[in-house]
């Protein structure tokens, strides 16, 4: 399934680009993210506690950045394994363009989500809703952490 959205963020394009590459901000923005470790350049290991309705499970996953074209676009790919439950993969192409003024940025993203194993079998009717919900949460927190309201958030986060 595919999610396509355009978000308008009140921050300069350089600031948004910096945020998209900052492990601290990405960790804050990823819903339920407990660990976000830099493994090598542009490769990260994450631990996420997913909580959607009855599902409450910890997933381990990898995130990789590629097609990096600062400060305009990149591709962020994540994959996670949920043990016997199956796996989930997501690839997001993110591109930025200047908004109405220097303190505005238009962010376009296109996310492709694939789910396999039992997770797909039992959850097929819920996957799109869940993916939409998680991506909305991600971009809401991302926006917050770049604008003023996000300052409190950053202070709360350890490391």
């Amino acid at each position: 399934m595919i999610i396509e959205e355009t978000e308008s963020i009140e921050a300069s394009i350089d600031r948004v680009w910096q945020g998209l590459n900052d492990p601290g901000i990405l960790k804050l923005s990823l819903p339920g993210c407990e660990d976000f470790l830099v493994r090598e350049e542009n490769k990260f290991e994450v631990v996420m506690q997913a909580k959607i309705g009855p599902v409450k499970a910890r997933f381990r996953g990898e995130i990789e950045l590629s097609d990096i074209n600062p400060p305009n676009s990149y591709t962020i790919a994540g994959s996670g394994k949920g043990g016997v439950a199956g796996f989930a993969k997501g690839i997001a192409k993110v591109s930025l363009s200047p908004g109405n003024n220097s303190e505005h940025t238009e962010m376009k993203y296109r996310i492709e989500v694939t789910v396999g194993g039992k997770l797909a079998q039992i959850g097929s009717r819920l996957v799109s809703g869940a993916a939409k919900k998680l991506s909305d949460e991600f971009f809401e927190k991302f926006r917050e952490s770049l604008t003023d309201t996000g300052k409190d958030l950053e202070q709360e986060a350890p490391g």
Binding site: G53, P54, A57, A85, R125
Partner: protein, 264 residues
């Protein structure tokens, strides 16, 4: 499934006390969503608090202008209730078409409502009738209760005790079921009281919602013809292997028309 402690409290007070004391507790009603999730190791509560013995949370009774249904009342009990067949037959009909006989003999009304599955049937009756949800702490209006996919205003540890459904002049629930699971691909609940019309739709979006545009038209002109040209926003609809978003958007209007025709 991972190991867990099993509790079987006799009262609501006892249940909330156990919940507050355990590391990661989960209440168990009919268990139709929770237990499969646990079996897949997608959920691992340390403590399972089975509400089955709390008899005060079961049963159906009539009050002046409404029917009160205990949260632990099973779908089958609702479907076969004579009281409901006389007072609000649409609820009995809705319950009688949930899943299959096994599901209806285990699943509970409160479990379905508190879970807020996008395709559950009960939330449409709650919202369509403008019911009041009574928890161990407070009373909540239906319009405030459902927040999103699997999300309600219920807080951690809060228990939904019973639901007060006001008696409408007329109401009906029309569902387009998935042929295998009987989940609502789209389900439309239409209720009419003192000239006002409420229309609640389940299955179509991430969570049950009121179709205000359809309500407004039907309040002025209660006919299937009047809502024929309504187009709901497909961007807000679920899209999965069972039905596309466009299909669902269209189906909402089709099912609303069927509901209206039945009420005329």
């Amino acid at each position: 499934m991972y190991g867990f402690k099993y509790h079987r409290p006799q009262t609501i007070e006892e249940a909330t006390k156990i919940f507050a004391a355990c590391e990661e507790g989960s209440y168990l009603a009919g268990g139709h969503t929770l237990l499969p999730s646990m079996k897949q190791r997608l959920a691992a509560p340390t403590d399972l608090i089975d509400l089955a013995d709390i008899s005060s949370m079961r049963g159906i009774r009539e009050e002046k202008d409404c029917v009160v249904i205990g949260a632990l009342t099973k779908h089958e009990e609702v479907a076969s209730s004579e009281l409901l067949h006389n007072a609000i037959p649409s609820i009995a009909d809705l319950a009688g078409n949930i899943g299959d006989a096994q599901v209806r003999n285990r699943g509970t009304m409160g479990g379905s409502i508190a879970n807020s599955d996008p395709a559950a049937d009960y939330p449409s009756a709650v919202l369509g009738l403008g019911a009041v949800l009574v928890s161990d702490k407070r009373e909540i209006e239906a319009d405030e209760f459902f927040l999103g996919m699997f999300e309600t205003v219920l807080e951690e540890g809060e228990i939904l005790k019973e639901v007060r459904f006001p008696k409408p002049e007329a109401s009906v629930y029309k569902k387009f079921p998935n042929p295998a699971s009987r989940y609502a691909v789209v389900g439309v609940f239409v209720a009419r009281t003192m000239g006002l019309v409420r229309v609640a739709i389940t299955g179509a979006g991430p969570c049950v919602f009121r179709a205000r545009e359809i309500e407004e038209i039907l309040t002025k002109d209660f006919s299937a013809e009047a809502i024929r040209n309504v187009r709901l926003d497909a961007d807000l609809m679920n899209d999965d292997m069972h039905a596309s978003a466009d299909y669902r958007a269209n189906l909402c209007v089709v099912m609303a028309q069927r509901a209206v025709r039945e009420l005329i």
